[in-house]
Symmetry: C2
Subunit: 265 residues, 2 copies
Amino acid sequence: MSKNKKSPQILSSVRNSLRILKSFSTFEPSKKVSELSESLGLAKSTVSRLLSTLASEGFVIKDKKTNEYRLGLSVLTLGGIVTNNLEIHTEAAPVLNKLVNDTGETAHLAIMDGLDTIYIHKEECHHPVRILTHVGRRNPSYSTSSGKVLLAYSEDDTVDKVIENGLVAHTQNSITNPDELRNELEVIRQKGYSVSTEELTIGTRSVAAPIRDHTGKVVSAITVVGPIQRMKDYKIPEIGRKVIEAGKDASERLGYDERFVHRFT
Amino acid sequence: MSKNKKSPQILSSVRNSLRILKSFSTFEPSKKVSELSESLGLAKSTVSRLLSTLASEGFVIKDKKTNEYRLGLSVLTLGGIVTNNLEIHTEAAPVLNKLVNDTGETAHLAIMDGLDTIYIHKEECHHPVRILTHVGRRNPSYSTSSGKVLLAYSEDDTVDKVIENGLVAHTQNSITNPDELRNELEVIRQKGYSVSTEELTIGTRSVAAPIRDHTGKVVSAITVVGPIQRMKDYKIPEIGRKVIEAGKDASERLGYDERFVHRFT
DNA sequence: AGCGTTGTTCCTCTATGCGGAACAATTTAT
DNA sequence: ATAAATTGTTCCGCATAGAGGAACAACGCT
């Protein structure tokens, strides 16, 4: 009865357990059985059993006092493995350091996953006032500076899909018009960096530039985020220049050679 | 028929899927169906189905070319959430930066999980020659400097359990004698820091000191790791002093007040 | 080519995992 | 204080989901 003619077999219990894991977030780091039962549409007993199993392998931890479950250290271990095996990560991480020092703001590495943009590394700035982000965070590509850079250098049909998927307004500044988005991407390609001013989160502004691998393909973005109070208009070109520079540094570490740039778009 | 009178119900399919996830490591980041089938003692078809399900939720990614599976970005997301919600992490991370600059070596934050020690944060040094470690890495407590510090300030029965569990020699320098271990822990308590010289990995030496929370309890350890060539004997006391200092800084950020130290052991 | 692998799908049967209810342990309301 | 309500876990019986084995398809290796 499924739409797909070729649907690989999915184990419902496993899928449900994974959905439980995914339901945790930075802002809701712990959940109760009944909450999950309702939000996932499963019987309490089912959720309870799934959680017990997850707990037995350290994927969640039960707080004996409150009966709340939170993510366990097993997921931390796995996350570390992923991080260590992403080439971009190991090569570009040192560049982030320099960028943080040069700009005084928090920097990230981001890649595309599907239509979203995910932070794969974070280097925190030393300022007491900081933007709350986290590694692994998934954001809509059309509303972040890193996402827009990645879109600007991705296949046309990726942009099409993003648009088809809907441009939701997260703030008043969000880009919701397809033409406006395409235009913005063109501007980004010309300038070489992208800026997002309160397009996703009120009070924050970010600047991003592309990172290319040895084939010249844009594989990730390097980005700087800060509160708008510190990211003043007049500073943006200077920050843009620094971010582009950092992107180039990182690209070179990945084996990219600028002399071959004309081979690619 | 189980030994436990009160055994919570475990779902085998879920458990097997989690076992698959756990079987990945930094050194074996990708696996084939047949490998997993053998190592886990499950039918190929079973493993294939489990992997499909894991892939459908982004927990693993299938390489179309090689048919190998590796961990997906979902686990990165989860790892970031855990990191963000560990109080020690957010408070102590800035201290790591300073320590890396002061010592020129890679620094970690570590906590105990069960009988093992896990790195929850890493700040890489700028040296080209670096020790390969990763966040989430689980090590035996009795063979690392951070683990020994944590043991030195933990309940007696934790130490007993570690000993009961067996002191395995990972290198010629590993502590395998219970009395020797207990003695070492006493020395650590007197000195305030611990040293591990090739006790787990040949060629590396590490120094660690405790971090206390607002109640005075030792909740984590701060540690510096480097190749023995750079971690010369004569430097160790100086490094020890710096690590202790960093531990105190971090403790204060967690609300620890030294004046109340005599209230606790 | 042909053989030895590989991973996925199909198939059958059993055992597993589902939902509902009962229970126990709390917390909230009165 | 006691009662009422809400929590999470265990029990239970039935239906079905999931395990293993075999067949099939796709490669890769001599």
